[in-house]
Amino acid sequence: MTATSSFAGRAMGSPLRLQVTGVPVEGTARPESLWQEAVDEFAAVDAALSCYRPDSDLSRLNGTAGSGMWRPASRRLYAFLATAERARRVTKGQFDPRVLPDLARLGHPGLVVPMASASRAGTPRREEVGWLDREPRTRSVRIRSAADSGGLGKGLALRWAGRHVAARLAGRGALLEAGGDITGWGRAPDGQPWQIGIEDPGGATDPLAVISLSNGAVCTSSIARQRWIAPDGRAVHHLVDPRTGEPGGEGLQAVTVGSDDPAWAEVWSKALFLEGPQRIGEVARRLGLAAWWIEADGTLRMTPAARQRTTWTR
């Protein structure tokens, strides 16, 4: 059993934790330094991509949505927009950042949504393309619809913070997590791969399954926490189907996806959730994804790729 340094705080509205195994040798970064880099990266991403702060780069850009104005974008904002558009295309619209007005219409608390965008909530947008214009040379952008950073913002924060940490680990193991999104490297203190429990959305203490993680990421999209009552009295959740503008994935409680990259794990967990219990297995298997999903009755199912990484099930 090797020594472990653990750090905990909060970032982007979620708990942020870092575990680093082993003792730093001369010339390598101390765990405190790795933690500080992670905290700084999350703070920078929050300043760039938060939809809860009116002064974030994304909120300011959303204020220009549909105006035809070109705006310079920060490095992180530009990367977010490019990744979000690519995710929209790759998932054939199952992931779409333009659900921000719908979330506001459904009464999601705290979101900063420009009035012009809010008035367009609920309008079909699946066939609409070209919501984003980019000019890579000058890193300028122009958007026609307000965008929600949501889970992808956190996935990108984990990706970028993780790169800082991984570059200076020097063979040590580390686990960085932000509210259910996890990325890990190397081995746990006991020399084995990191063991990650998939939470029971029903609230039981024991996880539903335990999975191994050595170098990669695991993200979960769940409706266990972010649920509220909409202005029209309906119980709704935060995973909005871009095709309907309404909460989707009925019949599922949570979807976990394992990937090399936390941002794409976030994208696929949300996109697969919206497939619903009838189609999620077929889609995830066809794409070769490692995916675990929990149905409304608490049944845990997984793809063959996920089975490879599973070490225990209830």
Binding site: S14, A188, I196, V210, S222, T313
Partner: protein, 134 residues
């Protein structure tokens, strides 16, 4: 004075009569012989016709059988063609199955999964709800 009666050529009449008789007898003999020959030939012809009729009937039966055999051969050929195509498809499927089996054998063994009554192992963290919160 003696009158001499002119001499009648009786011998000629005799000869003519004899010749006619001989001719008549010969003619009757020849006619009889020809009638007998004709009757024999007719008998033989009737026998040959019957045999010929039998042969023709046999030939017609054989032609029908040959036609049936040709039709059966054609059907057999078509069936064989179909069977060959089916066999080729089966061989393709078998080759594909062989590839799949090879790929399956090449897969790494699945790790053991404990479940059921075994208590949950210690975990380093858990993954659950994600998404930013206000």
């Amino acid at each position: 004075m003696a009158t001499t009666e002119p001499r009648r050529p009786l011998h000629l009449l005799w000869l003519v009569g004899l010749s006619a008789s001989i001719y008549a007898v010969n003619l009757a003999l020849v006619a009889e012989l020809q009638a007998a020959g004709d009757s024999q030939v007719a008998d033989q012809q009737a026998t040959s016709q019957a045999a010929l009729d039998l042969l023709q009937a046999g030939d017609a039966r054989l032609a029908g059988q040959v036609q049936q055999a040709a039709t059966a051969l054609q059907a057999t050929n078509a069936g064989y063609g179909q069977a060959a195509q089916t066999l080729a498809n089966l061989e393709k499927q078998l080759a594909s199955l062989g590839k799949s089996a090879g790929a399956l054998r090449a897969l790494p063994a699945l790790p053991a999964v404990s479940s059921g009554s075994v208590k949950a192992p210690a975990v380093h963290t858990t993954t659950g709800a994600s998404g930013a919160k206000p």
